[in-house]
């Protein structure tokens, strides 16, 4: 058996195993197929071997960075969730993935990254809290710029400048896309019957962040919540395949133990850090006090350094009295 592949993806949050739709797609697909992946949840893309997330590090083919390519690679390694699908169903998968990518994903990016209220109050806050110092100062902003540029190229300038037109047309098409997905799913458990396929991974990864995140400006979110079968679909996949509910689900016992211990260690670190900082503060104050002569230790007679300030004080008092 080949050595396990390593997947680097964004950390989890909002009740999800990963907050980024692409990372979530790969994770879900791997869960569906039972591929043995060692998952590294990193908090910034510089930790990943290729500089982008998600990234799959394999033994033979180096690092693969695009979502579709990762899934193709997994498929080549015989972890194929679409094995049982008929030719028409495979064609439908391709078509619906295109629908998602064209109509829903750009609007999703807009909702999270470009819409002013959402970005400032929710997305940027989460990323700034998760990404370690000092990257949290500029990384969220650079991601915001990148997403903005992408949407500008995709939609053209007149949409970006005219908020109302954008809202009306593009959000309407996104809502329509959600409704179409809901109609296609109907009352089935997954899109193609009883076992999940790659289409389910894609749909789940786009819908789950929208469903779970607590967005201040959530019109699209409200529309999704009104489609009951899609909500049930997402929650059932979460509970079936990610039962630890957003906390790090373990791929194996050693990983779980490692994760727990790392989480446990954080607390004593925090305490220790607090204690240390208080101690350092105290030592600094005392040291300054000694060095500047405000306080002195007397051995035998009164130290000369101690007298002068007191004497000066007395003189001042005498002067004031007079």
């Amino acid at each position: 058996m080949a050595a396990p592949m390593e997947l680097f993806c964004w950390a989890g949050g909002w009740g999800l195993p990963s907050v980024d739709p692409d990372c979530l797609a790969v994770l879900t697909y791997a869960r569906f197929t039972g591929a043995p992946l060692k998952v590294h949840r990193v908090t910034h893309p510089w930790r990943s071997p290729s500089g982008h997330l998600p990234a799959l590090r394999t033994q033979d083919e180096g690092t693969i960075s695009k979502t579709q390519q990762i899934i193709t690679h997994l498929r080549k390694q015989k972890y194929n969730a679409d094995y049982d699908l008929s030719a028409t169903q495979n064609a439908d998968t391709l078509a619906f993935v295109s629908l998602l990518e064209e109509k829903l994903l750009p609007v999703l990016i807009h909702t999270f990254w470009v819409d002013a209220k959402n970005y400032v109050e929710h997305t940027r806050k989460w990323y700034a809290e998760t990404i370690p110092f000092p990257l949290n100062f500029f990384l969220p902003n650079s991601m915001h710029k990148r997403h903005l540029e992408r949407l500008q190229l995709l939609w053209g300038d007149d949409y970006m400048e005219d908020e109302e037109k954008l809202e009306k047309q593009l959000y309407r098409e996104a809502r329509e896309c959600l409704t179409l997905l809901s109609q296609r799913l109907g009352s089935q458990k997954f899109f193609f019957g009883d076992s999940p396929a790659s289409l389910d991974a894609f749909v789940f990864s786009r819908l789950a962040p929208l469903l779970k995140a607590k967005l201040p400006n959530g019109k699209l979110q409200q529309h999704l919540k009104s489609l009951q079968n899609l909500c049930n679909y997402c929650t059932s996949i979460l509970s079936l395949y990610f039962p630890w509910d957003g906390a790090d689900p373990s791929a194996g016992a050693p990983r779980a133990a490692g994760t727990d211990s790392s989480e446990g260690e954080e607390d004593p670190h925090k305490r220790r850090n607090q204690l240390l900082s208080v101690l350092v503060g105290l030592v600094a104050m005392l040291g300054y006090a000694f060095l500047s002569g405000i306080v002195s230790i007397q051995r035998g007679g009164v130290g000369p350094a101690g007298r002068q300030p007191i004497a000066m004080g007395e003189e001042e008092e005498e002067e004031e009295e007079e």
Binding site: T88, L94, A95, L99, E102, R150, L153, C177, G186
Partner: protein
Amino acid sequence: MSLVAEAFVTQLAAAEPWPENAALYQQLKDEQILLSDNASSLAVQAFLQMCNLPIRVVCRANAEYMSPSGKVPFIHVGNQVVSELGPIVQFVKAKGHSLSDGLDEVQKAEMKAYMELVNNMLLTAELYLQWCDDVTVEEITHPRYGSPYPWPLNRILSYQKQWEVKRKMKAIGWAGKTLEQVLEDVDQCCQALSQRLGTQPYFFNKQPTELDALVFGHLFTILTTQLITDELSEKVKNYSNLTAFCRRIEQQYFEVHDKDSSAIAARSAKRSLLR
């Protein structure tokens, strides 16, 4: 346009019947138009033919700049201008003609999904081929795109458009693809379309819909346009039901009407499908 204004316009649109002098604008047919624009224009023409709405094709060198969204083709109906297949379908629907009314909800979802598939893969592949493949760019695209304009304007416009398309390719992640990968994607797309079509005459059995028009537009153009190599058209020819589909629509909707035969026959005279 605010919601009120749009409702007003839609009502106006619905109130007027389709005029006789409706016009479709595209770039110059023989010298200027490129593969992707030709495909989009043919798709709209096919759609309007399927709806039995008369339209005449007007060729203008600056059609792209006249269009409200910057994309060709656009139609000028009454006193309204609508561009691109999606909005045109909605506009025509507001006038009371629709091809997809007989479909149920699930079929409508599939139709929309397949239309996005064609836009996402076929159209992007066409754009890639004509703007990012160096040989094609040098020999076909640059000479054609700026041909109505004098030097140096033709080169400037052409480079500007190429830069714009390359930026877009980068944004959607196609910049890193090689030509083989793009052709592979085209093959996958054709395979999906072929499987969906199966042995039926149209995608949703008896009646053509806007999906059929779109697929016809792109596939027919790919099959009948001469490029540097034949690789792209070979990918489509691999699927015999798709070529039969194109031939069927051509015979049914384009060879019947004489006034439109000049638009299509000129093309088919030079490179016939029935080869």
